[in-house]
């Protein structure tokens, strides 16, 4: 077997090993994280991913005040 092929096999072993090792760690991390969140936090309404959630605090601050200024000031 050529040296290149041997290196390839090595890379495969290392690569699949790392991928599995990492994702297994990630699974345990995720499970631990979720259970910690569940335990230490008040019951939370299931969140919707992305998108705008709360309105008030979301807007850029400068824009917000600018808007306020416009509304209150120049009619």
């Amino acid at each position: 077997m050529s040296e290149l092929l041997q290196e390839g096999l090595q890379l495969m072993a290392l690569g699949m090993g790392t991928v599995f090792a990492f994702l297994v760690i990630l699974i345990f991390g995720t499970i631990a994280m979720s259970s910690l969140v569940g335990r230490f936090s008040k019951p939370e309404v299931a969140a919707q991913s992305g998108g705008r959630r709360k309105s008030g605090a979301q807007m850029d601050q400068i824009a917000a005040v600018a808007a306020a200024a416009r509304a209150a000031h120049s009619r």
């Binding site: 699949m16 994702l23 297994v24 990630l26």
Partner: protein, 388 residues
Amino acid sequence: MDKLHTLLAESGLANLSLGEFAMILVGLLLVYLAIAKRFEPLLLLPIGIGAVLVNIPGAGLYDAPVYGDAGELLSPGGLLYYIFTLGIDTGVFPLLIFMGVGAMTDFGPMLANPKTLLLGAAAQFGIFATLLGALGLNETGWFSYSLEQAATIGIIGSADGPTSIFIASQLAPEILGAVAVAAYSYMALVPIIQPPIMKLLTSAKERQLEMKQLRPVGKRERILFPLMLLMLVAMFLPSAAPLLGMFCFGNLMRECGVVDRLSDTTQNALINIVTIFLGLGVGAKLNSGEFLNMETLGIFLLGIVAFAIGTATGVLMAKGMNMVSKSKINPLIGAAGVSAVPMAARVVNKVGLQANNQNFLLMHAMGPNVAGVIGSAIAAGVMLSFLG
């Protein structure tokens, strides 16, 4: 009259080499596939046009700028040269795309059922099997892939465009064009490539298995997940940090709820602008010298093998998990582990519905689907670390 001769002598027709002509046809084919067949049009349309433009003899769109001794600009470079040099050679554009993809990714289904991460791991076997396959082809004597090239070809099996382009830009820029085209083409062909393999490896009864609805996932979990992933990458595989770091950053902007204006721009204006440039820049690598050869043929052969093997190992992993676990999963969702987000998850859903018209697998397949993105970024990190 002299000048007329010059003009005619400079015309495209007079100078078009056979290779350029062929590459223009390749570019038009990509445009056709993008528009008429809807093959990943967001990328293949700009890639196709880029390929056409770069192969027009005398248009100079890929000329490097010429500077004088004092550093002054004697002759400006071509647009595609600037795009490629500044955005792709540097790896900047793929990383920005990855940020945008992160901002578009919903980890909810995966968080609700974290063991599906294993499916995203198993499907990466396609990457490494293909790497070996490329090196094996060398034994025929018709090909001569370096280890870097073989790894880059393998990464087509990540079924993830920006990952493929990033790895190619870092390890083997000379095959970037062919690898990117193969990656996006096969991602578009997932609905054709995957179903036969999925059906071959599963019984009708297995395919009919309905899965119980996923639990809702709270906002805190969604925020903490990208941070945790980033920390694990930092600790265990720093070479994957550019890709996964930008991915996690994008996802955190999406989920944290306090920077929605940044998240919106990342998902829209920014990713669109970068996509246009990325496509044109990739297309600029489709020149006859680097594309029209046996190596490219091998890349396309190996790429489809990568997809097929990844699909198979994903499904087999799911079956293996059912042997040891009492909460059964439908093995079809293993096929989504190759990524090809969200095409592979849709294919799973469709094949599931064919077996059982009440069997909606889309959400269940989204877990392995996004896990596949993480898995192949990890595989990419290993390659960068091994070969970089």
